[in-house]
């Protein structure tokens, strides 16, 4: 379990990282926290020509409040966000979800944007970005663009990021007054990837549920003002649309049932918060 040979570029600035991506394209891999890339390198699942390290770049550090959104740079570790004093007030859904991300050890190195870039279908951070209508800020030598989370996650471990782009930051709308948030997850062990993860956001006018671990990417549905049995029925339809699959740890039917029952519980928890 040793990586194949690769070159390591410690980017001196963002421009150098952009340059490396432009030059090597898909043969380059960015590394920040390394919690996903390092095992993949060691197992030779990925064999890039170059690994471009951006972790230390000052431009990517920091959590900033800009207008009504929180900008989290690509160099921000998950543990850093979890320890951010305003997290509960500004991003209550992430406050609830981040403890479910891996373990304390992996959070202390893994980054928020790295999780978005990897786009694991069970990962909590992409799920929260989708649920909160976050946007992903991408940059390359040619410029900069922002992509809504709903368009960014295009499939299993695939995103709208072009080969020459890097995620510079994610922008997450801050907490809205009159909104309730809740997060729930079921995995086999503490810190495992979710078999089903649910994020609920409830306002006076709408019930929103986003689900991870079931489809090939996080999935979201707005249920308007539905409640009671009508909401259960709508959750049932939602569960069926997710194309759940059997795997070693759970059946498709099990996953659908958790979407129905845990999804409803999560919505009710968000409602209690809202109330």
């Amino acid at each position: 379990m040793k990586p194949a040979r690769f070159d390591y570029i410690r980017a001196g600035d963002l421009a150098e990282a952009h340059h490396a991506l432009a030059e090597f394209g898909n043969d380059a891999r960015l590394i920040a926290g390394g919690q996903t890339l390092m095992p993949m390198l060691s197992m030779r699942l990925v064999r890039p020509q170059v690994v471009v390290d951006i972790m230390h770049l000052p431009a990517l550090r920091g959590i900033e409040t800009t207008g009504n959104a929180i900008r989290i740079g690509a160099g921000v570790r998950q543990a850093e966000l979890l320890a951010w004093p305003k997290l509960a007030e500004q991003l209550p859904l992430l406050k609830a979800a981040l403890p479910w991300v891996g373990h304390a050890q992996t959070r202390s190195r893994g980054t928020v944007c790295g999780s978005a870039a990897h786009a694991d279908p069970s990962a909590e951070i992409p799920l929260c970005l989708l649920a909160l209508d976050a946007t992903i800020e991408l940059s390359s030598r040619r410029g900069r663009r922002r992509v809504a989370a709903a368009e960014f996650f295009t499939g299993m471990m695939t995103t709208a990021r072009a080969e020459n782009e890097l995620i510079e930051a994610v922008h997450i709308p801050a907490r809205q007054t009159g909104t309730g948030y809740a997060f729930n997850e079921f995995g086999r062990r503490h810190g495992d990837f979710a078999i089903v993860a649910c994020a609920a956001i409830v306002t006076a006018a709408n019930v929103r549920l986003a689900v991870g671990g079931v489809a090939d990417r996080p999935a979201l549905r707005d249920f308007g003002a539905l409640d009671g049995k009508a909401l259960d029925d709508a959750l049932d339809v939602f569960a069926w649309t997710l194309d759940a699959r059997d795997d070693l740890h759970a059946t498709a039917r099990y996953r659908r049932e958790l979407v129905r029952q845990m999804g409803r519980e999560t919505i009710e928890e968000a409602r209690r918060w809202h109330a």
Partner: protein, 981 residues
């Protein structure tokens, strides 16, 4: 009298472990920490991606040519310089440490690369090309015995490697007379104890002396020293085996490093340089050793009051692809105590051993116990349920009565000591069983799913080296000569400053042997534990050892501790005679206390222990002995461990502890997750030498058992692909998942061991899995339940019938077998079937629709080869693709068969494409079956199926695009392949 003289003995106290200062500060000396000689090379192993295949070619030229590579060895190269590992049954089978003509399990070594670094060795592995001719794989032991099943080994006529039947007492009569017959059939799954440190070794060969010197984190039994020496074709004295000072856990598993000792010994001989190999985690999970899986049918003849009169065992053991020594020992380790803690006099046994295309099995904590007790204790619960009795009463009525010890079981074990009934009653009382029943009643009144489980068990320890020969018939045993005993060794020596050193061949992996031996010898010689230095790193060229040496069958406290006490006693007797001469008192009146050797009753008439001990070095004449050496080695083997009798009775172990467990488990109605609410475990492990370590052993065994019961399984697809190749899929519970059990003790010293101690390290691995399963069966009202008790499995009993899918959503395709993927779809193409057909058969078509093709070579009109890059997201690999068209039915249908192979694994699939005219165009429909094996199947886990669908989707989407079509309607692909299409 000095107050120190009356200080309590060290044994029985939880003294600080001498091992911990180094281990807790990162100063342990494990095999990979130790310096190696300059010029040491590093090995990597190419392993089979197939469960069963003929090896037709192993091309190593490119690997050999890589700079830094010293040697590339395939099966034939190893065979030239070694011989087959000895196999423990009378069958014409060989067992090589590397595949020779075929591969028989995923992970089986196929080639070894020796290079200047492990990185280079792994680079070279990627350059080896192997031609495999896949054969049908046998995964299930029952299926393995089907006469139509492919036979794994040429020397055998079937996959049945051994069959024996046994009869004790009058089982037929007991069944004929029985008021009730109760039976269970269980399938015990595969799992392993996964030590934190994997296998590792450094092998050297001395050409001048034709001798091997291997440093390995091997753990015994050292009967395998003989197996290794014979395989390397040298006398035992030319095979020196050493162990590092520390070894990071084993739990039996590190017995399995021995085939690699042979493999790397040969590699060292070929290269003329030391060869180091450290197993990585992927190798370990796929191919180290597994515990056996077993299919057992167990039936009981039962009286109306629940008293069990007879048992009939039918055990089918799955040892995997080879009968690797000491297997089939797992099946026979419990033979003497098959009746557990119960007084059952009539037993019949049918034991069969099957070979399957899975990793060979070997030692694992509990060794044979989990498999036996899962059947026996599920049966006892079923007796209670079927006879509508309280399970507590069923156990109580069947326990071996007080005062019956030593108790000879029907199958031959001599249960050394105990009072099972009393220990059982104390456990119910001190563990508050009545309160647990109330708690269950309350939970059930609230509609919660709450069950109680019980288990009684006998924990055997200090294995009789002869129990394995029970697999042979009495006649075969007569020819082979008797095998028995459990020879333990210890050496105690005195140095010129009067210090005491103890050397043992117990090969610990963190258990704390050094601490306990210091306690034992300190008590004997009136010293402090810190006065005693204990050396446990082992050298077969220098230390006293025998075939039973090593760290297994919970033999340390009883056997090695006892041998140390005997060796120390001999030193003590000699010193007492020396002191007697100097103190002018009879030797019988000499006592050892407080660092002094003194006259009993006159503590002032004393010598310093260290001064007396040093005398033999400085003034040998003072030692009034013919043998003046103050170094004593004790060999101890208990006389109770006799060979199997003519009637196949076998005292398979020297000591037998008693365990009674009970627990309360609640199951979540939504998730099906079992939660251990309370767990009580009562142990009689004889005299307790170190309470803290006993608690550690019980807790550790319990943790392993929780893993086996709720989380862990080495899973295989029906094609033999290995599905749990990383810790993301082989789920070992962490501290978060393991509650603290309530541990109770009732001590009855063993009369057969010098210290009265028995083993305690494996018991919960035997008792806890079935105790938890009994609780779950009680909670859900299930008749039968197999491990592991996963939430999805349990939820299937809770969730009830599911809603039907809404009309606009199609149900997912039926679940495949193993790693098989199934899919189907169709698309509308705006061209006539003839035109589409021509496009499909155009040789250029494949080039443009195969994802990532780097040029297509046309072999014939219907056979193509291509180099392709396939993958999902960042995980891409280069593969060779071989594609054939067949069953051509122009212009209506064609079958497309593809095989891709590469370093990450292989996939094969078949798709049928049909064309049907539809208004002005064509409906192109297809369905496919695909299977994935090799590395990605082992480590891809939960993402693999989805990733494979992405690749297949790319292929068919390109096909439709190429023929000018569009998906039939929006969302069509989404339902076929996931919402990503």
């Amino acid at each position: 009298m000095s107050s120190v003289a009356n200080s309590p003995p060290w044994c029985g106290q939880s003294v600080e472990r001498v091992e911990d200062a180094a281990l807790l500060t990162g100063r342990g000396r494990f095999i990979d920490d130790l310096p190696t000689r300059p010029g040491t090379l590093h090995a990597a192993i190419l392993r089979s991606p197939h469960a069963h295949a003929r090896l037709t070619a192993v091309r190593t030229d490119a690997a050999r040519a890589l700079p830094g590579v010293a040697a590339v060895l395939a099966g034939a190269d190893i065979q030239k310089l070694s011989s087959s590992l000895v196999v423990g049954v009378k069958a014409k089978v060989e067992c090589w440490p590397i595949a020779t003509d075929r591969v028989r399990y995923v992970g089986e070594p196929v080639a070894v690369v020796v290079a200047a670094s492990r990185y280079l060795a792994e680079d070279a592995i990627d350059l080896i090309e192997v031609d495999y001719e896949p054969l049908p794989a046998i995964v299930d032991p029952v299926a393995a015995l089907d006469p139509a099943a492919p036979v794994l080994h040429e020397g055998l006529t079937s996959n049945l490697a051994s069959e024996r039947t046994f009869r004790y007492g009058e089982p037929e009569q007991a069944f004929a007379d029985a008021a009730h017959r109760v039976a269970v059939t269980i399938r015990y799954p595969r799992n392993s104890c996964t030590p934190m440190e994997t296998y590792g070794l450094v092998a050297e060969y001395d050409a001048g002396e034709d001798a091997y010197d291997v440093l390995a984190n091997f753990m015994g039994p050292f009967s395998l020293h003989a197996v290794m020496a014979r395989a390397l074709k040298v006398p035992g004295n030319r095979f020196r085996l050493r162990t590092p000072p520390d070894s990071g856990g084993s739990f039996g598993v590190k017995q399995g490093v021995f085939p690699y000792v042979v493999l790397m010994g040969v590699a060292a001989r070929v290269t003329g340089q030391p060869v180091k190999w450290i197993e990585d985690r992927l190798e370990h999970l796929a191919a180290s050793v597994s515990a056996t899986n077993r299919v057992t049918t167990l039936e009981a003849a039962v009286d109306a009051d629940g008293r069990v009169r007879a048992l009939a065992f039918d055990q089918l053991e799955d040892v995997g692809a080879h009968i690797r020594a000491p297997e089939p020992a797992t099946l026979y380790r419990m033979h003497g105590n098959l009746t557990g803690a119960y007084d059952i006099r009539h037993v019949s046994v049918r034991n069969r051993v099957a070979l399957t295309n899975k990793t060979p099995t070997g030692l694992n904590r509990g060794f044979g116990g989990p498999q036996v007790y899962y059947a026996l204790e599920r049966l006892m619960q079923r007796v209670a349920v079927q006879l509508k009795l309280d399970p507590i009463d069923v156990i109580r009525r069947n326990l071996i009565p007080s005062g019956a010890f030593p108790y000879r079981t029907a199958t031959g074990a001599l249960l050394d000591s105990g009072d099972y009934v009393k220990a059982f009653e104390i456990a119910l009382e001190d563990g508050s069983f009545a309160a647990l029943r109330e708690r269950q009643a309350q939970a059930r009144a609230q509609g919660r799913l709450y069950g109680i489980g019980l288990t009684a068990a006998v924990e055997p320890s200090v294995s009789n080296m002869g129990y394995i020969t029970t697999v042979l018939t009495p006649d075969e045993r007569r020819k082979a000569g008797p095998k028995n005993g459990a020879q333990a060794t210890a050496t105690v020596s005195l140095d010129p400053l009067g210090g005491v050193t103890v050397n043992v061949a117990s090969v610990p992996q963190g258990q704390g042997h050094r601490t306990v031996l210091a306690q034992i010898v300190a008590d004997d010689l009136g010293l402090k534990p810190s006065d005693i230095r204990v050396v446990t790193d082992f050298d077969s060229g220098r230390d006293a050892w025998s075939i039973a040496s090593g760290n297994y069958s919970s033999r340390f406290a009883a056997a090695v501790g006892g041998a140390a006490k005997l060796a120390s006693g001999r030193i003590k007797a000699k010193l007492a005679r020396m002191a007697a001469a100097q103190l002018n008192v009879p030797a019988d009146d000499i006592e050892f206390a407080a660092g002094k050797v003194r006259a009993r009753g006159n503590p002032d008439n004393a010598l310093l222990f260290s001064r007396l001990a040093a005398a033999s070095h400085w003034s040998p004449g003072l030692v009034p002995e013919e043998n003046q050496a103050l170094r004593e080695t004790a060999f101890w083997s208990p006389p109770e461990l006799t060979p199997p009798t003519e009637h196949d009775e076998i005292n398979s172990s020297l000591c037998h502890g008693f365990i009674f467990d009970f627990c309360g488990v609640e199951i979540d109605r939504v998730t099906g997750e079992p939660r251990i609410d309370k767990y009580v475990t009562m142990h009689d492990c004889g005299t307790i030498l170190h309470p803290g370590m006993v608690a550690g052993q019980v807790t550790g065994g319990f943790a392993h058992a929780v893993g086996a019961a709720l989380y862990e399984e080495y899973a295989y697809g029906e094609d033999g692909s290995f599905l749990t190749g990383t810790f993301a899929d082989y789920l070992v519970p962490t501290a978060m998942e393991i509650p603290a059990p309530v541990i109770l003790h009732y001590e009855t010293p063993s009369p057969f061991t010098p210290l009265g101690a028995k083993g305690v390290g494996e018991g919960n691995c035997m008792s806890t899995p079935v105790c938890l399963a009994n609780a779950v069966a009680d909670a859900l009202g299930l008749d039968a339940i197999d491990l592991p008790l996963t939430p999805a499995k349990l939820a299937a009993h809770i969730h009830g019938a599911e809603s039907t899918p809404p009309q606009q959503e199609r149900a997912a395709p039926p679940p495949g077998k193993g790693r098989a993927l199934h899919g189907a779809g169709q698309a509308y193409v705006d061209a006539a079937p003839d035109a589409v057909w021509r496009m499909l058969l155009d040789p250029n078509t494949l080039a443009s629709i195969i994802p990532g093709a780097h040029g297509v070579e046309k072999v014939t009109d219907t056979h193509f080869r291509a180099d392709v890059t396939l993958g999902v997201g960042p995980v891409t690999g280069r593969y060779k693709a071989d594609i054939r068209l067949s069953d051509l039915d122009a212009p209506r249908a064609v079958t497309l068969t593809g095989v891709v192979t590469g370093a990450l694994g292989d996939a094969r699939g078949t798709g049928r494409i049909t064309l049907a005219p539809d208004s002005s165009g064509t409906q192109v429909a297809y369905d496919y079956d695909a299977a994935i094996g090799g590395k990605v199947a082992s480590i891809g886990g939960r993402l693999l199926d989805g990733a494979a669908r992405v690749v297949i989707r790319q292929f068919f989407a390109a096909l439709v695009r190429h023929t000018g079509g569009k998906p039939a309607k929006r969302g069509f692909f989404a339902r076929l392949f996931g919402s990503g299409a």
